[in-house]
């Protein structure tokens, strides 16, 4: 049991005439789907087809910063999960780099209690690999796992010590939970502010080279192979990283990977604006890197889209580029961004994007896989592909507005979200 929320009785509703796409079932066609008390009870050929509407398994985001405890001014469990529901998600996993860090049963237990009271959708929590995320000693992983930690990560920072990664891999045999790694070799990334390349050369911003990511991935894949354990690599950004993961998978290493919508849609050319909503870690990279990420997602090397939703206070992002914190929000825009910039432009198939936002992450993290089949708990997202909407500051449910899409007009909108049988969002 790693997902927590108030739950309650399931809702009953019928969604008529949508094009139902469920990659796990090989379904793609117009159906009427009936949900009774939270369970899918009927899937029948549609009488009337509703133009532009798609019904798909709801999304799962294994990489969200909810900022609790400590920065409730930026996000709370209530606001972050409401944002997730509006983005079409039926489950999310929160990162432990809060203040204090989620490194003890006390902190994790408090979060679980809070989620049981105020989460809009089922919510899980990762605990940190090292105490205080200091990269020195392991947390009490067995106890944390028993209490409900969904996985372990020091996200926001790399685990610099190879020895500590090895110990954590060994220990994951006890916890049965995945290690999820932020890969960054700090003596190479140094004080890097953006991708190292022609744009950083022009702007004078310190470069964070892609090789700083890939050398760590190669190291940790070697360790995972040696220890015969699984590993998940967070937010891939560089082409060398995609190649490293692909090569490790080819050798039989149990390594999975995720990629963010912003790394799939943008390049470091955007940083020319010096808009701090293009400052994220890992940084946006070159077009060749972006294409490698798209290809990695297509061929399955990267099985999962994860938003790395990172809310930041307005006054902290409203600063000169080097002073601003890394990170952008993403829960409420993820599908529309991918649909607008990749599906609509022919770079990726709709079915593949839906699969990588739902089944992919659920399988990697051992969460219930959303399926559209009779007898299943309803975890559904209804999308209107024809909708156009403008991203504005007052349109967010998140408490923060640091979106790279502000001012953009996107195609594709979430109309309804059903999570674990309950209607949690309706536009």
């Amino acid at each position: 049991m790693t997902l927590f929320w108030p739950g309650g009785k399931g809702d009953s509703l019928t969604i008529e005439g949508a094009r139902v796409i469920d990659p796990t079932q090989g379904v793609d066609g117009p159906f009427d789907v009936t949900v009774e008390k939270g369970v899918i009870t009927a899937i029948e050929p549609a009488g009337n087809v509703a133009r532009g509407l798609v019904l798909a398994p709801a999304f799962v985001d294994p990489h969200v910063h909810l900022r609790v405890p400590g920065r409730e001014d930026e996000e709370t469990i209530a606001s972050g999960t409401a944002a997730a529901a509006a983005g079409g998600y039926c489950a999310i996993l929160a990162m432990p780099n809060s203040e204090p860090v989620v490194d003890s049963a006390a902190v994790l237990g408090a979060l679980i209690e809070q989620a049981r009271e105020e989460a809009t959708i089922p919510t899980g929590f990762m605990a940190s690999i090292s105490q205080g995320m200091r990269g020195q000693e392991l947390t009490e992983m067995a106890e944390l796992a028993r209490l409900g930690a969904a996985a372990f990560t020091d996200d926001g920072r790399p685990v610099v010590s190879a020895g500590l990664v090895q110990r954590a891999l060994q220990y994951s045999g006890v916890t049965g939970r995945l290690l999820s790694l932020h890969e960054e070799e700090p003596t190479l990334s140094r004080d890097g502010q953006m991708n190292e390349g022609p744009v950083s050369a022009e702007l004078g911003l310190a470069g964070w080279p892609s090789v700083a990511e890939s050398v760590m991935i190669e190291r940790d894949c070697s360790l995972a192979a040696y220890e015969q354990r699984s590993l998940h690599i967070m937010h891939l950004s560089g082409r060398e990283s995609v190649a490293a993961v692909r090569a490790a998978q080819g050798r039989g290493v149990a390594v999975s990977a995720e990629v963010s919508p912003h790394h799939l849609c943008l390049t470091d050319h955007s940083v020319r604006t010096l808009d701090t909503n293009f400052k994220m870690n890992p940084p946006l990279r070159a077009e060749e890197d972006r294409l490698a990420l798209v290809e990695g997602l297509r061929d399955g090397t990267i099985a999962c889209v994860a938003t790395d939703h990172a809310p930041h206070a307005r006054h902290e992002k409203d600063a000169p580029f080097e002073e601003a914190p890394f990170g952008v929000t993403g829960l409420e825009t993820a599908f529309a961004a991918l649909y607008t910039f990749l599906v609509d432009r022919g770079e990726l198939d709709l079915g593949l994007v839906l699969e990588r936002m739902s089944t992919g992450p659920a399988r990697i993290f051992g969460l219930p896989v959303p399926r559209i089949a009779v007898g299943e708990r309803a975890n559904l997202v209804l999308l209107d592909l024809d909708a156009r909407w403008k991203v504005t500051e007052d349109g967010f449910r998140s408490k923060s507005v640091n979106s790279w899409l502000l001012g953009e007009t996107l195609r594709g909108a979430v109309v309804k979200t059903v999570a674990d049988g309950r209607l949690v969002y309706a536009a």
Binding site: P198, L203, P320, E322, A324
Partner: protein, 324 residues
């Protein structure tokens, strides 16, 4: 997509001077011509021009600077503008919020121009966003220092009579140099050829795409008309960063000495110099050095920049450049 989906910031052309990339070749030509006109007028006994009488120029300096601040201050005074200087200790990193607050406070005085130097890239752009004043970037981090590049072009043209086709070798720490970034762009604008001569650890990866050649061989200066020597910015070298093994080794491999120059080559340096490190004192003080000319050019070029921003560069405003 390679381009950002977000609209480019709408900065009206020539409203500000934030980066050399704000300018086109005609702008550079006009600014240099205005500077020449101003230089002629300064030959007279009374050196004050009435052009900007009643205007307010604020110099907002978040980094210590002697020559740039004094140059802008004198430039504004010589054009009869009122000036005000605000300095920050530079010891504490100034948060964006305080920069915004400072800019808004200053805006209450209705300044015509805010000249800003700031340790952080993009700070002048942020001031431009929150005030009505024309903003001149007097150096933002490692990004840009456009008036330095303009005064360097002016100095080269005065000394050599042309810019088009000129070959300039920029020697030293390009990685940490806003002077180099601005100059590379400016030289490209006027049709000059640029070669960067630098230790491999002090060249930003990908810089060649800005339109210059890159070499780590000091012999790369041989065919240049001008050897432009950058300061070894020790204050930007954090302890342990180890970009180069030692200053001694740098001086031995890349220092500009008389023996490394060929007859007819001219030498420039944006100052302040580390004599004996990047430049041999005998070269700095010799006839081939244009370093004093650069300081003199700085005054007239900054006068031209202020004048151009406040008059829109209109030719009919030129009579104001008559002596008061």
């Amino acid at each position: 997509m390679t381009e950002t989906p977000v609209a480019e910031p709408a900065v009206a052309p020539r409203r500000h001077l934030l980066s050399i990339s704000d300018l086109d070749r005609d702008d550079v030509e006009r600014l240099l011509t205005t500077a020449t006109t101003i230089a002629r007028s300064l030959d007279r006994e009374v050196k004050k021009l009435p052009a900007l009488r009643g205007r307010l120029v604020i110099n907002l300096f978040y980094e210590s600077s002697t020559r740039t601040l004094s140059s802008f201050d004198l430039a504004a005074k010589r054009l009869s503008a009122d000036t005000m200087a605000l300095r920050s200790s530079g010891s504490s990193v100034d948060k964006g919020e305080s920069l915004r607050d400072t800019a808004q406070t200053l805006a209450a005085y209705d300044p015509d121009v805010i000249v800003i130097r700031h340790p952080q890239i993009g700070a002048p752009q942020r001031v431009a966003e929150v005030t009505e004043a024309h903003v001149v970037n007097a150096g933002d981090g490692k990004h840009q220092h456009p008036t330095q590049a303009l005064l360097d072009l002016y100095t080269m043209r005065e000394a050599l009579g042309r810019l088009d086709g000129l070959h300039v070798a920029i020697v030293g720490d390009v990685l940490h140099s806003r002077v180099a970034r601005s100059l590379i762009g400016a030289l490209a604008l006027v049709g000059a050829r640029t070669t960067l001569v630098s230790p491999p650890t002090l060249v930003p990866r990908g810089i060649a795409q800005l339109g210059c050649e890159v070499t780590s061989e000091i012999s790369g200066i041989q065919s240049a008309d001008v050897v432009y020597v950058l300061r070894m910015q020790q204050e930007r070298m954090r302890a342990g960063a180890a970009y180069i093994p030692s200053l001694r080794e740098y001086a031995a491999e890349w220092g500009i000495t008389a023996a490394r120059l060929r007859p007819g080559q001219l030498v420039m340096h944006p100052g302040p110099m580390n004599r004996g490190v990047e430049i041999d004192p005998r070269v700095a003080d010799s006839d081939v050095s244009l370093i004093t000319e650069q300081v003199r050019s700085g005054l007239v070029v900054r006068m031209a920049v202020l004048y151009d921003l406040l008059t829109g560069g209109r030719a009919e405003a030129r009579p104001a450049l008559e002596v008061a």
